[in-house]
Amino acid sequence: MKLAIRAKSFLLSLILVILLGIISLIIYLSAGADTTILLVGGVGSLFILISTYLISYFYTQGAKKMAAILEKLEKDQFNSGIGVADHDLEHLTNTFSLITEQIQQREGNFNKQEKKMETLLQALSEAVIALDQGGKVLIFNKTSEKFTGFTAQMVVGKHIDEILHIYGGDEKIIISNYLAKPDELATIHRERGLQIRSQDGKIFHIAVSVTSVVFTDEENHGFILTFYDETNQKALEEMKLDFVSMAAHELRTPLTVIRGYAELLNSELGDKLSPEHQEHLHRLEFNAANLGTLIDNLLNVSRIERGSYKIEPQSLDLVSLVKNAVTDLLDQANSKGQNLSFVESAEKIPMVMADSSRINQVISNLITNAITYTPVGESIKVSVTPQGSLVSVSVQDTGIGIPKEALSKLFTKFFRVSSVLEQGSKGTGLGLFISKSIIAMHGGEINVESEVGKGSTFSFTLPVATSAQTAQSAAQFGGLTKTGKGIMINPERLSQRMAGRFSSN
């Protein structure tokens, strides 16, 4: 039986009043007719009724308020349609427990959701660190521990610079300096690579991305740092590099020995050999040297294709360079009865911006080709001419020329024009490909004009150096490594020796 609380309380007070009436009546009957007792009973009943009413009234007021609050809470938060129909306490209690249940359920959902996010964050192969505006750590996921050697408990609340040891090349990177400048960080990564050293001394190659974020309210900015591990990629790259380098090493070592013993044999025995045997020995030496060039070229092509073939342009006197290359190859041309010459330009040739040893390689390659494909008694002319903001170098021969259909393929890898003049395997088919790559890296162009039977002209252009570039080149040393003939000198060491910094031996 359901009765409203108010009805119940009135019923209770009624029972109390009746009880009071009965007791008063009994006392009145047994103790003689004293009307005071009846009066007391009557007043008592009245009190009970009034107080019951008052209590009920105040309670109703409270319940109304509570109901309003619950109703609002329900509507705002859950909106599940539980009406607070009656302001009755029992109803209110029911509603209240229902709402509590919903809150618990919701909290459970929240926790589940949070766990999910947490698991997701921890399972990321990227290290994720969230920072507040001041650079203090808010979130630190599991992968971050791998990179830093710290656990989340150790670092949350600490400043990011205390935790990360990042290096760009040799320079230590203070990450908080780059939070607002993620582009600069990306540049360092591209140019020098970024490494992170963990607490236990492990080094990882990484890429870092910095994202600015807004937490909850708009004034509170923060940052998300994401680290990607590039160590494996790097190792893979290096392994590839090592393989090519090692292959070159393994091929070159026996070749060095072959060239060495051939020369030793020649110097000890050469005079005593018959002309025929001398020729054999000469061919052995010649082909061993060619094999060396082939290995060099293969190595260069592999570098070009990997993008690790670098040029270090400086302001350069092209005329001297070309003259010198001509001088170096004079004997080779003369031995074939060719007339190799440098044609002086009437105009003044400006300095160019170029890598001297790479350009030397190109010029030597073009002249050597001309010597190879030019018959006895013909001529090869080398010239340098200014062309506006460029300087052009031409190697012109009166040789056999190149068929039209071959011209377009001339600068591709391993392409060789087969011809009557070419005996055996003289070219590697890589020289022009390398030359074209070198000139392209300089921002120049390489071209060929040819007519079968009349000869060929190879020419390339190089950019003129600005006066600022010339001044700068004069004031600094260039890069360190080049390929070419001769001992490659360490310029820094040379300047130290020139400064007399070392005692003489």
């Binding site: 090692m246 070749l255 000198i489 360490n490 310029p491 060491r493 020139m498």
Partner: protein, 185 residues
Amino acid sequence: MKTILLVEDDFHIQEIYRTTFIKTGNYTVETASDGQEALVKLGSHIYDLILLDIMLPKVTGIDVLRAMRAPTSPTKDTPIILITNLGQEDIIKEAFKIGADGYLIKAQFTPLDIVREVDAFFQQMKEMQNQPAVPSAETAVPAPASIPVAAATPSVPVVQPPYQQPVSQSSSSQPATTPAAENPQ
């Protein structure tokens, strides 16, 4: 007579280089076949030049170089030229940072070429020492990055390449590394 320490693990290369140097009558040659042996031999002689291979057993050439350039090493100022067949430029870069004076690729030369290169290198050193010390070498010595010290072909008179000289003669009062060199015509 100059003394060379030849550090080379390949027996044949060691043999032909040693023989060729000695045959000139201008050099005596000490040899070491691995990094450890090289380090032991450092103390026993004063060398005029060290030819150092990079790929060495036991102690790598780079580590040997580092030890040779240590501040207390007797060879800290001795010229060191790397002789290698590796095609890896970053190793050379590292070696130059440590203080190697130069490098050459063995397979690009015959033993006689090497002797000529070394002759030219000593010649250059001698010319340098005859010149007064340059007060501020850090500021401007416009030496190009790579300087072949000698033409490799024997029949051509050894002409120093003109691009070995400061690229801008007028802008520099520095002595040229090879003052005798004239532009070949």
